[in-house]
Amino acid sequence: METFLGLEYSTWWFLVVGGVFSGYAILDGFDLGAGAWHLFLKKEKSRRIALNAIGPVWDGNEVWLVIGGGALFAGFPDVYATVFSAMYIPFILFLVMLIFRAVSIEFRSKENMNWWRKSWDRAYSFSSILLAFLLGVVLGNILLGMPIGADKEFSGSWLSFINPYAILVGFCSLTLFMMHGAIYLIMKTEGRLYQKMAILARRAIIAFIVIFAITTIYTLIYLPHLSDKFKSNQWLFIVPLLAMLSIANIPRLVTKRKYVQSFVFSALTIALLLIVVAIELYPVMIISTIDPAYSLTVQNASSSEKSLEIMLIFAAIGVPLVAIYTTFVFWTFRGKVTLDDHSY
């Protein structure tokens, strides 16, 4: 096994995939969250401002999903193939919602008719809510594991993906993104809308903390295998501890009206929670509920060393580039939203 700085290439790629999906959760997280709030805003102008707050960036945010999908396909073809074919129906629904959402954003403001805008507003908001929820459902099922045989194929029914734990994690991701999105909207708005979002953000924080606490307790009671790593290595406890502190810091900063900092901490919270998940699973990526020996791991599901090496070079060149133009775009559209001829 080839290594770099003491870690195998496949582990490096696991970090890359994890990093890209964290980036996706942080970036698309706020625009999905903003979309989930859409129907809570009643005035036409408020809705347009909220939409244009994510206008120039949502498409770039979604790119992280495309890169993540490609990175998973390239580095861990077995995981990509098994999970995507196993979760056929959820993923098809996910894709359909993704299309609906993109189309709603694009078309909503193109006509003045009341019914036109109302219908697109609903489509936009429901698809945002469902996407945020489905992402959590997928994560919940990955934490639970699924029946995978020796041939690396899924042998269950897709209906098993609808289970209490997955639904709980779904609500967890929904409230987390709504909190994240509300804070983003506060940063981008002024006046009445700003005040309204500040109130909604506080509600979202409470909802998230409650659901997150329930999810944590549920996990500790019913899925004890998900805390083995933390039990065997006390030093790792620092990660969930940091996550808790980060969560606790959000309401503190929101109360102090330090919204930029609170946005940073809600982003950090998303990243830390995903790191907790990664630590728990590694080196397993998909747990087999038939026999742990059949689980798909970073080693048995990865591409060849050669392929991983090439892609790590790609990532080393490409990720800084992506970071540069993402920063450039966010810098160009910094500050409060103003509507002009080009707005949605």
Binding site: G55, P56, V57, D59, G60, E62, V63, I67, G69, G70, A71, F73, A74, G75, F76, P77, D78, Y80, A81, T82, F84, S85, A86, Y88, I89, F91, I92, F94, L95, V96, L98, I99, A102, V103, E106, F107, K110, D151, K152, E153, S155, S303, S304, K306, S307, I310, M311, F314, G318, V319, L321, V322, Y325, F328, V329, T332, F333, D340, H342, S343
Partner: protein, 458 residues
Amino acid sequence: MDVEILSRLQFALTISFHYIYPPLSIGLGLIMVIMEGLYLRTGDKQYEDLARFWTRIFAVTFGIGVATGIVMEFEFGTNWATYSRYVGDIFGSALAAEGIFAFALESGFLGVLLFGWDRVKPAVHFIATVGVWLGSMFSAIWIVVANSWQQTPAGYHIVGTGMEARAEITDFWAMVFNPSSVERLSHVWLGSFLAGAFLVMSVHAWYLLHGRFGDISKKAFRIALLVAVVSSLAQLFAGHKSAEVVAEHQPAKLAALEGHYDSLGVADMYLIGWVDKENKKVTGIRIPGGLSFLTGFDFKTRVKGLDYFGEEDRPSAVNAIFQFYHIMVAIGMALIAISLAGLYYWWRGTLFEKRWLLWGFVGAVLLPQIANQAGWFAAEMGRQPWVVYGHLRTSDALSKSVTANHVLFSIILFTIIYIFLFTLFVYMMNKKIQHGPVSGELMDDRPRQKDMTKKITD
């Protein structure tokens, strides 16, 4: 119906629909770069109006392209899991490279392109336009590389046997520059430029015919016409090069393209024809020995026919492949003819008076689209029964855990949504086109003197 037919049907549906948009983005991107570049050079406000107008149209095509493109990326995993395991090492890395080097560039700068007109300096905006266009060009590179590898695999070795087998990279650059990628990439790029150029010409010809936005439309039309002339002529060579690669590396596909059955006989070339699969004959207008000549520069060259291959190792839908291929070629010729006609009358100085020609350009917008689709259908159906030529059969590439009902469900869903999406697309395009490049009718300079005289004297 079984999972294989349904999955192939779904793939054909989703990829055909998707492929309406990326070529438009690539082609329009090029023309936007030229327009905005001319604006920066000359300071002529009309070029800026044009660039802004086509950016608005571009936004619609790009948006639908992205939404339908994500479907494609997920579909390999959902419907073709065995294929994904087999090619992940190679196909996956091309797809990942596309995401990180091309798509990120494209979507990153898109925000500035669409919303940044009044926020950044003109030169910075121009960089964003170029960035988006280059991103779309790079996207094409990686996608065509990945597909070309399936047609003419190179730089790999097969590890494992039976259902455990998979292809792994041995030489990355040999994989990227596999025998068909350069030829097919230039073919795809040129096809995209044609799609963009003919859309621009169609819209501006329509304005000219209706006496709207006269001056500005002439400018746009000339730019697009030049792109069309160069691309359609270059396409003749690129297309021929692609065919040569097929002749060398995919003999069964070549035989299907011309309906050539005789296992080691002289092969004809058809201008138009119909393949009778039962009697293994083609009826139509042909150049005897034409295909032989193209492959060996001798009318007597022996070309491997379909019968040279076992029934299970050659494509079965021969007539369909034949027809798609010939439609593409015929349209390619028609595009050259109409582009050159435009150039000729431009040179004569009467281009914008030839109403019949302008009407021809209005309708010609569909031609590159049909040719692009037909060409891909010929290429992909001609590769059958293989998904990776010579290595993995399409029937072995499916997802084992997906049932026919699942696929039927998703096909119905995608069909409904894509019909809806297409309706919206046409509606939005029509609205934007009706609105035109400049607000108000300030640019409306009808009726022009010459037209009036012509109408009176007619």
